[in-house]
């Protein structure tokens, strides 16, 4: 563990530097170029520097596409600033392109006048051809409207690591750290945390660590000494004002895992994850697989059905069963989820959504599985649905999902998405031991016992564990008699049981916080309603519009089913309700049917997060029209 204080690098020349409120940097290159690692390091040091930040790692679908192809380009974007940062940024201020393909794929997103850093060493004829450039973009008009820094990074990297006895291939791999050094210089970042990280990471290969450190230092020195041109000088982004406390950066995958473990702890349960790998959900499996010391068991199943069934079995036996997948995998689980509904067992189903339908675009984000979560089962089988709105929020939402699942003896859907899973943001680390407990009490009273005895308030059934003498009982997916828990085909009983299952879930609306207006108030004209990872762009857009004085509010919904009790009233106070979603209008459908509110739709189904401008434009149109 290192803290900012101990390693701070002081840029004596802060006065010379231009102060920026925020900046958006995108790195792009081959999967082999270490783009994600580079981004991760910049994220760390930026967080430590006290900026707020958000990141967006964008992976290619191919594992390691042939070098230099456009479809093999991997990208990482970070937005950091002196103000609260809500998104990874609409448009980058800086693009670092490690090769022609990276330039080709990303240049379209760059606003005129932005800064482009290219490794000229990678602009060989062969690479340009592979990228589909007929003429050299560094020489034709392609970059006319940009500020371009052309450096033969490859060559300079090779020079900087010459003395470490690496092969040419290994040496070239240090390119990303050389570039990072330059970026660190550009934005006054401290190199030390990255140097520490390299020393730990390559502890067993000190040669590699040293070479990378040399590269980073060389890149940094290049910035300090080189003439980068008139328009390019060092920048300085002051720390943001953030709530006090101890921080770290966290990805959604980590936050989810920690939240689930914390939730299980607070319930007094062991956690058992049943999962079958699928992009982007696998990350949760990977993190939890490394947390065995907390009593976590992970089961990599033979398929998604086995995964959810194993989790159900675990819950039956008294653990917290969790299963995790993405849309296509969740589809396979729906029959089994019905069993958990019918047997009223706790279960948390994490869906890390991705672009569909079917295989779709597996590495791209989307939030189009809301219908599936709310309605996607046979029969009347209501299930609570929650969504995390950011990487860090996944921690709290996971705890809430566990609380509801165990208190109400029900499966709970927890929705995240590809963006949340992979992106990182600073996180004010909570004190888990002081969070409110929601300890489970297992039934141990044989007196009048039957397995479908219900709590009067919550309507939850008792949880009696196999192994308990005297409570032997049988449960299953057939309809049960309300009064004995035995199989029943009685018509009125079935109606009653269906209604009590529904009432139990509906009743959760009274056990969750009222829906707050996230930004703005009920006095505003337009409410932009969102859920999940659209939090950032909506919040930023509404914030910006409010600064302009426009009467717009942001309402971000965590509890999607049942919806908070005050929702009807809240929505009715706005003239316009605009539901912004990365799907064709799924929450909108639900709000309309629940409240008969004429909610309007803003949809983006591109596999990429909303741009704040899209949202702003839509709101302006509503206010004008």
């Amino acid at each position: 563990m290192s803290t900012a204080a101990s390693t701070a690098e002081t840029y004596e020349t802060f006065e010379d530097r231009e102060e920026l409120e925020s900046v958006v940097i995108r790195f792009a290159g081959d999967s082999g170029d270490g783009v994600q690692v580079t981004g991760g390091q910049l994220t760390q040091v930026t967080a430590i520097a006290g900026n707020d930040l958000a990141t967006f790692p964008d992976f290619p679908a191919e594992i390691r596409a042939p070098a230099g192809t456009t479809y093999g380009v991997s990208a990482f974007q970070i937005n950091f600033g002196a103000r609260r940062i809500r998104t990874a940024g609409d448009q980058p201020d800086v693009l670092v392109a490690f090769n022609p393909a990276a330039l080709k794929v990303n240049i379209g997103d760059m606003p005129g006048g932005s800064l482009i850093i290219v490794d000229t060493g990678a602009f060989s004829d062969r690479n340009m051809k592979k990228a589909g450039y007929e003429t050299n973009p560094l020489e034709d008009q392609t970059l006319d409207n940009f500020r371009v820094i052309e450096i033969d990074i490859s060559k300079r990297t090779l020079e900087s690591v010459e003395s470490y006895g690496l092969s040419q291939k290994q040496a070239l791999r240090c390119k990303n750290f050389w570039t990072l050094g330059l970026v660190y210089w550009l934005y006054s970042r401290d190199r030390q945390p990255t140097i520490d990280w390299l020393n730990v990471k390559f502890g067993k290969l000190p040669g590699i660590a040293d070479a990378n450190i040399a590269a980073i230092n060389a890149g940094h020195a290049y910035g300090e000494t080189a003439e980068l041109g008139e328009e390019v000088k060092g920048y300085f982004v002051p720390p943001a004002v953030m709530p006090r406390g101890l921080y770290r950066t966290i990805t959604g995958a980590d936050a989810l895992a920690y939240g689930l473990v914390a939730g299980a702890n607070l319930a007094g349960l062991k956690l058992m994850l049943g999962s079958y790998p699928i992009t982007p959900a696998s990350a949760l499996l990977h993190v939890l697989a490394g947390m065995k010391e907390f009593g976590v068991t992970t089961f990599q199943a033979e398929d998604e059905i086995s995964a959810v069934c194993c989790a159900i079995g675990a819950s039956y036996a008294g653990s917290l069963g969790v299963t995790s997948s993405s849309g296509p995998g969740v589809a396979l689980k729906t029959e089994a989820i019905g069993l958990a509904v019918s047997t009223e067992l706790p279960l948390v189903i994490v869906n890390s959504q991705r672009s569909g339908p079917s295989t779709g675009m597996p590495t791209k984000t989307e939030q189009s599985d809301l219908y599936q979560a709310v309605y996607g089962r046979n029969a009347d089988a209501p299930v609570p649905v929650l969504a995390a709105s950011s990487p860090a929020d996944a921690f709290d939402t996971a705890i809430e999902a566990v609380r509801i699942a165990t208190k109400y003896m029900t499966p709970v859907f927890l929705l995240t998405d590809s963006y949340i899973i992979n992106a990182a943001e600073p996180w004010l680390i909570p004190d888990v031991s002081s969070l409110p407990q929601h300890k489970v009490e297992f039934c141990d009273d044989a007196d009048g016992f039957h397995p479908f005895l219900r709590d009067e308030d919550t309507l939850a059934r008792v949880w009696a564990l196999p192994g308990t003498p005297g409570l032997e009982h049988r449960i299953g997916g057939l309809e049960k008699d309300y009064d004995s828990g035995n199989i029943s085909y009685d018509p009125e009983n079935h109606h009653r049981m269906t209604m009590v299952r529904k009432a139990k879930i509906d009743g959760i609306a009274n056990d969750i916080p009222e829906q707050a207006v996230t930004l703005g108030s009920e006095e505003d004209t337009v409410a932009v309603v969102g859920w999940g990872s659209t939090y950032g762009p909506i919040n930023r857009a509404v914030d910006d519009l409010r600064v302009e004085g426009l009467p717009v509010a942001h309402i971000h919904v965590r509890h999607l089913w049942p919806l908070p009790a005050n929702m009807a009233e809240l929505l009715s106070s706005f003239k316009h309700v605009l539901v912004a979603e990365m799907n064709t209008g799924q929450l909108r459908t639900i709000l309309r049917s629940e409240y008969l509110v004429p909610a309007e739709a803003l949809n983006n189904i591109s596999g990429l997060p909303f741009k704040t401008t899209e949202i702003k434009d839509a709101v302006r149109k509503l206010l004008e029209g």
């Binding site: 006290g50 101890l246 069934c309 194993c310 989790a311 079995g313 029959e335 196999p466």
Partner: protein, 340 residues
């Protein structure tokens, strides 16, 4: 299996639940449940630590009729659900009750992986070579040519051999019994229970309504002894009403052959001795079919290996032992942090 407390042992009837048994009169399932209740009494099981898990089908109603814990799940998934139960509480003694459709049709994949992983539980496959509960369609174990509501002209699929499939899937314990053999079946169940790992038991079960007498070719009273061989580890594989038939391997063709003691100079020492740890032999036994061969009953294969649940939990335990003070708050604060 688990070590059960021996104090005040329960009787067979103590394992019957208060629910009326709803199988068709004459169904082979009645005999199986009887053998099971006897077995539980024999091994000194307790009700509270015994769990019956099933999928869907006639056979899958089994748990309702036992006074132990029970989970009647969904079609084909008992293996997966049991795995979760075992991982969550390894002290429970789990018996899966599943039909041929449940196990080998919709549930084939889970059974394969259960066997391969070797989860410590007993898996009972009630093979009546038909879908009973859905009213008589042919199943993956039905003989070629089976006429059923979905195959009015006869089925055209080559059936799967349950035991051969289990062996091909890496099972470490494979046995076979017949529903009505009340002398034999509890012994097989007990061996299954004693075995550490997934114990796979195929029970040939007569469905009196949709597939009556499908096993009569080798279970009919008059011919049973000539058409069945009860194998015992270390014993020569001799059978027949007159105990004069035996099995031998032809070294050339690598095939089993039926020989008669006393004929062509064959004596007991020529007869193959059953070695339940030999997988090649197990497969040959599993695939023997009447009438050319006797049908092999008893423990065809038993060769224990480390169980999945033990290995998984050992890793968890190791991690805990390595970090006995594992503290989530401390964990969350690892790596780079900073104070604002």
């Amino acid at each position: 299996m688990n070590v059960a407390t021996k104090i005040d042992p329960l009787k067979a009837k103590d394992f019957a639940s208060d629910q009326e048994v709803r199988w068709c009169p004459g169904c082979g399932d009645y005999a199986i449940i009887k053998a099971m209740q006897k077995t539980l009494a024999d091994i000194g099981a307790t009700r509270e630590s015994t769990v019956f898990v099933s999928g869907i089908g006639c056979a899958a109603r089994f748990p309702y009729y036992m006074s132990t814990y029970g989970f009647h799940t969904i079609h084909g998934r008992a293996a997966a659900i049991s795995t979760g139960i075992k991982l969550a509480n390894p002290n429970l003694d789990i018996w899966v009750a599943s039909g041929d459709g449940d196990s080998l049709s919709i549930g084939g994949n889970h059974l394969l992986h259960l066997l391969r992983r070797n989860v410590n539980l007993q898996y009972l496959l009630f093979n009546n070579e038909i879908y009973g509960l859905t009213k008589g369609q042919y199943s993956p174990t039905s003989r070629m040519g089976t006429r059923s509501p979905s195959t009015p002209l006869g089925s055209v699929e080559s059936p799967i051999s349950a035991c051969e499939f289990a062996l091909g899937s890496g099972a470490r314990f494979v046995a076979r019994g017949v529903d009505t053999q009340q002398k034999h079946l509890p012994g097989v169940f007990q061996r299954a229970w004693e075995h550490q790992g997934t114990s796979f038991v195929e029970i040939l079960q007569n469905c009196i309504v949709y597939n009556d007498d499908v096993f009569a070719e080798f279970t009919a009273k008059d011919i049973a002894q000539d058409r069945q061989v009860h194998v015992m580890h270390g014993e020569p594989m001799i059978f027949g009403a007159n105990e004069d038939k035996g099995l031998r391997v032809d070294a050339e063709s690598l095939q089993l052959e039926v020989v008669t003691l006393g004929e062509n100079g064959i004596s007991e020492s020529d007869i193959l001795v059953h070695d339940e740890t030999n997988p090649t032999l197990a497969r040959m036994l599993a695939t023997m079919e009447a009438p050319e061969y006797p049908v092999a009953l008893g423990v065809l294969y038993c060769d224990p290996a480390e169980t999945y649940d033990a290995s998984v939990l050992a890793q968890v335990q190791e991690a805990k032992d390595r970090l006995p003070e594992a503290d989530l708050d401390e964990y969350l604060r690892r790596g780079h942090t900073w104070t604002v």
